[in-house]
């Protein structure tokens, strides 16, 4: 991954430019419950948890350059330990409820120390495979250890009031989760800014040199792994706190995949990139899943498009665009417009294709064709009924793709130069891809 932007900035104006958007977003998040229904508030709780999880995960990737394929273990272990602590509070323990996520974080931190010591002996693909192996082993034990982890039915508990705070309403849970997410992100921010952060990035770039400077790089990497696991565990703890239950299914691969996808889509090279990815995919999954059964396919397509055309993720695109604007390059509105329109028509074409195919291959579609006597009964996509086999529909889809191909081609018209990223469009340069 490309290195973090680290150039020191001193001017007050820059500070305002940096702080202002963050303050606005924070304000919006704090004021949100006035306008949100329960479903959206719940979605935002899930966004916070996914964001904190991805941020913890990305400490390992963005800073230390290590990609874990088995982070679900630490997320889930944090959740398990938090729910056990909640059960203890229910049973009369005096552990303060507001500090619950720390219980999960601490447990995962300790687990991360052990797992990380093994995993960081290697780097690259081998590191990834060790994380996979550890995840599989932990999963196999946890799923059989019912008396400890509750098996398939999981462990349930209930949030106990602490002083004046009841923690019974989703509203309380929202502010609680938001506060802990911000605390976690701040912690990571200061860590990144600290001398330790510098050394860690040094290990990523030139491990040998850092070792010659007298640092025990293995111990440092183990520490980073453990902190990453700890923050992920805190996120898991927040999940347990919100759901008031955990399940051994949390230990399965899906939760390792999601965080990876969130980080890629958001961008691993920008500090808040994973937050962007987590927000996008969580809301997408939350709402689009009820509109189409092919939402995972759309998610996969988005992932592929990002990997190929925006290797630094969405936030990477944004950062590039801002930098080029600052550098004084003129905005090429014509290219930008073509870029936006091109992707729009291609997206519509792809959605039409997938939805029509998806509808036609259903057995119930065959039944409908037989009972109605129509060979190709109409299918509703985008609030309009389409006859799937009519030349009009098929031609329309072909037209959309053709139009997209033309629009996304560079003005020079050579086959190898595509307008591929937002930044390219702004600066009027061909993409880096080919």
């Amino acid at each position: 991954m490309p290195p973090q932007e680290q150039s020191p900035r001193s001017s007050a104006r820059v500070t305002v430019v940096r702080i202002l958007p963050i303050a606005l977003v924070l304000g919006a998040l704090i004021g949100l419950p006035r306008f949100a229904d329960m479903a959206f508030l719940n979605a935002m709780v899930m966004v916070c948890i996914a964001a904190l999880y991805a941020m913890g995960y990305n400490l390992l990737w963005g800073q230390a350059g290590l990609i874990s394929f088995g982070h679900a273990t630490y997320f889930a272990f944090g959740a398990s330990c938090t729910i056990m602590t909640m059960a203890a509070i229910e049973g009369g323990s005096s552990f303060p409820t507001p500090l619950l996520p720390l219980a999960g974080g601490a447990a995962s931190f300790l687990m991360g120390l052990v797992a990380g010591w093994f995993a960081t002996i290697r780097t690259g693909v081998y590191f990834a495979m060790i994380t996979v192996a550890i995840t599989e082993l932990v999963r196999a034990i946890v799923q059989r250890w019912d008396s400890m982890f509750g098996g398939e039915a999981g462990i349930t508990s209930i949030r106990m009031a602490w002083g004046p705070i009841g923690f019974q309403k989703l509203l309380d849970v929202y502010y609680f989760t938001l506060a802990w997410t911000i605390i976690g992100i701040l912690l990571l921010w200061f860590l990144q800014r600290s001398p330790l952060g510098t050394v860690i990035r040094g290990i990523r770039e030139q491990e040998e040199r850092v070792r010659f400077l007298g640092y025990d790089t293995h111990a440092l990497k183990t520490l980073v792994f453990a902190i990453s696991a700890g923050v992920s565990g805190m996120a898991g703890g927040l999940l347990a706190f919100t759901n008031e239950s955990t399940n051994v299914a949390l230990y399965e691969g899906a939760y390792s995949t999601t965080v990876l996808i969130n980080t890629v889509i958001g961008g691993a090279g920008v500090f808040l990139g994973p937050v962007v990815g987590a927000t996008l995919t969580t809301l997408f999954g939350y709402y689009v899943a009820n509109l189409t059964y092919y939402w995972l396919l759309y998610m996969g397509l988005l992932f592929m498009v990002i990997v190929v055309y925006a290797p630094r993720g969405i936030s990477g695109l944004g950062v590039d665009a801002v930098r080029r604007l600052r550098s004084g390059a003129p905005v090429r509105w014509d290219l930008l417009g073509r870029f936006a329109l091109g992707w729009l028509v291609v997206t519509i074409g792809a959605i039409m294709t997938i939805e029509l195919i998806g509808a036609v291959v259903q057995p119930s579609y065959g039944a409908l064709a037989r009972s109605s006597g129509v060979a190709w009964p109409p299918v509703r996509v985008f609030w309009v009924s389409w006859s799937p086999a009519s030349p009009l529909t098929l031609g329309g889809i072909a037209l959309l793709f053709g139009l997209g191909a033309v629009l996304l081609r560079d003005t020079a018209g050579t086959a190898s130069r595509n307008v591929s990223t937002l930044a390219d469009a702004i600066a009027g340069k061909p993409g880096p891809g080919v």
């Binding site: 229904d37 329960m38 479903a39 959206f40 719940n42 979605a43 899930m46 196999a140 799923q143 059989r144 019912d146 098996g151 398939e152 039915a153 999981g154 349930t156 209930i158 019974q168 989703l170 999940l239 759901n243 008031e244 239950s245 399940n247 299914a249 949390l250 899906a254 999954g285 939350y286 899943a289 009820n290 059964y293 939402w295 995972l296 259903q362 057995p363 119930s364 579609y365 065959g366 039944a367 409908l368 037989r370 009972s371 109409p378 509703r380 609030w383 309009v384 009924s385 009009l392 329309g396």
Partner: protein, 417 residues
């Protein structure tokens, strides 16, 4: 010129459909019921079975004029087969004003949803929500984890095993040596325990029992050798999907003569995928067309016309759930049709017709009482499955009284005042 005319055509047809859709929409008074199903993810195949049942059962209700003169429209929410998905969908449903939620899919998701609904009802006693779990088989759901607003319209391990061994032993097909092979998680362990519990009353000996990793075993041959060494005549398994198919493949290719007694063999794709390896296996299931006579044939045909699929396995539990629910709603005054407490009380007293006899809810723990059919996979079956030359030949139809396993008193539900 040409483009313009094409655009015109598109525009007119679009406007036409939109208008007609709105017309239909305004013509019926509709009540929406949220149905949480795994339409994506690893258990999407099960979701499809439930969706077929849901589509069919609601069309049946609506074709008969709806309930209280209102049509009922299901809204399918996809939980992706995960507990988190289930929890999110429950919150979405409740936030959207749902009072009655149907759920189909695995026990883990059902347990999570049931716990969520329970907590919601405890915190919002004036605005309770009713949950019907259409297909979750874990015993705890109607035992320790039961609550007043949760209903289960499927079987559990005890009922399935009892039905299997009863039908087979009464027809002298069980033998005296039984082997149990199951997946190592709650459901498989309950199956394992049930096989052992029924040994004495049905006079067989459990010659071996195995619990294996779920969906991780690549080759069942070593287990098959253990079965062979044990000399078992019947192998009872609650395995589903891949663990079932691979097990049957291994047994068939090793030429083992033991017969299989299964629970989920009739799910879509299984018999087609197993091929000849499935012949001679038994399954205890809610519906076997041939055992239902003319009524069974009509149900099969209507279900097929509506969904393009056969009513198999869990799809039938969805139909039972919705038949019970619509009758319970019809039994309460119209103003209470979405009052969870009123409908729950009515459900406890409701019976609904089923092809093989009536189904009803046991008030004590909200477990469904239902008839089960034990069928044998055979090429001589009247109705074939999965586009193969095989189908289910009935061995015995067990009445609801015969399949019932008495509640053990572990369900302590708090009833509304």
């Amino acid at each position: 010129m040409r483009l313009k005319s094409i655009l015109n055509t598109v525009g007119i047809s679009a406007a036409g459909t939109l208008a007609s859709a709105m017309l239909i929409g305004s013509a019926m008074a509709q009540t929406q019921i949220d149905v949480i199903l795994p339409m994506t993810g690893p258990t999407a195949g099960t979701g499809e079975l439930f969706k077929n049942g849901v589509d069919f059962a609601f069309s049946e209700v609506n074709d008969a004029g709806g309930v209280h003169g209102k049509k009922i429209a299901p809204r399918i929410l996809d939980d992706g087969g995960t507990t988190q998905g289930g929890t999110d969908r429950v919150r979405q449903a409740i936030s959207g004003g749902a009072k009655i939620i149907l759920q189909g899919g695995g026990s883990a998701v059902a347990a999570a949803i049931s716990a969520d609904v329970k907590r919601w009802n405890e915190r919002n006693p004036d605005n309770p929500v009713l949950l019907i779990m259409m297909g979750a088989e874990a015993a705890q759901l109607t035992k320790k984890d039961c609550h007043f607003y949760a209903f289960r319209t499927s079987t559990n391990a005890d009922m399935r095993v009892k039905a299997l061994v009863k039908a087979l032993s009464e027809n002298n097909r069980l033998g005296t040596k039984v082997f149990a092979i199951n997946q190592d998680y709650s459901w498989g362990r309950e199956m394992d325990a049930a096989v052992k519990e029924n040994a004495a009353p049905f006079k067989y000996q459990v010659v071996g029992s195995v619990l294996h990793d779920v969906s991780k075993i690549q080759d069942f041959s070593p287990y098959v050798e253990r079965i062979r060494e044990s000399g078992a005549e019947t192998v009872v398994t609650g395995n589903w999907a891949r663990d079932l198919l691979l097990l049957m493949q291994s047994v068939a290719s090793a030429n083992l003569k033991a017969k299989f007694a299964t629970v989920f063999l009739d799910e879509k794709g299984n018999i087609a995928s197993a091929g000849k390896a499935a012949i001679g296996s038994y399954v205890a299931t809610p519906f076997v067309a041939e055992a239902g006579g003319a009524e069974g044939e009509v149900y099969l045909k209507k279900f097929n016309e509506k969904t393009g699929a056969n009513p198999v396995s869990a799809g039938n539990n969805a139909v039972m759930a919705i038949r019970l629910l619509s009758r319970a709603i019809a039994a309460v005054p119209e103003k209470d049709m979405l009052n969870a407490t009123a409908v729950a009380l009515a459900l406890e007293k409701t019976t609904a017709p089923w092809v093989h006899g009536e189904v009803s809810i046991r008030a004590e723990d909200h477990q469904l009482r239902l008839p089960l059919v034990v069928g044998e996979v055979s090429t001589e079956a009247k109705f074939k499955l999965d586009g193969t030359d095989m189908g289910l030949k009935p061995v015995k139809v067990l009445t609801a009284a015969e399949t019932e396993v008495a509640a053990d008193g572990s369900c302590q539900m708090q009833r509304p005042k």
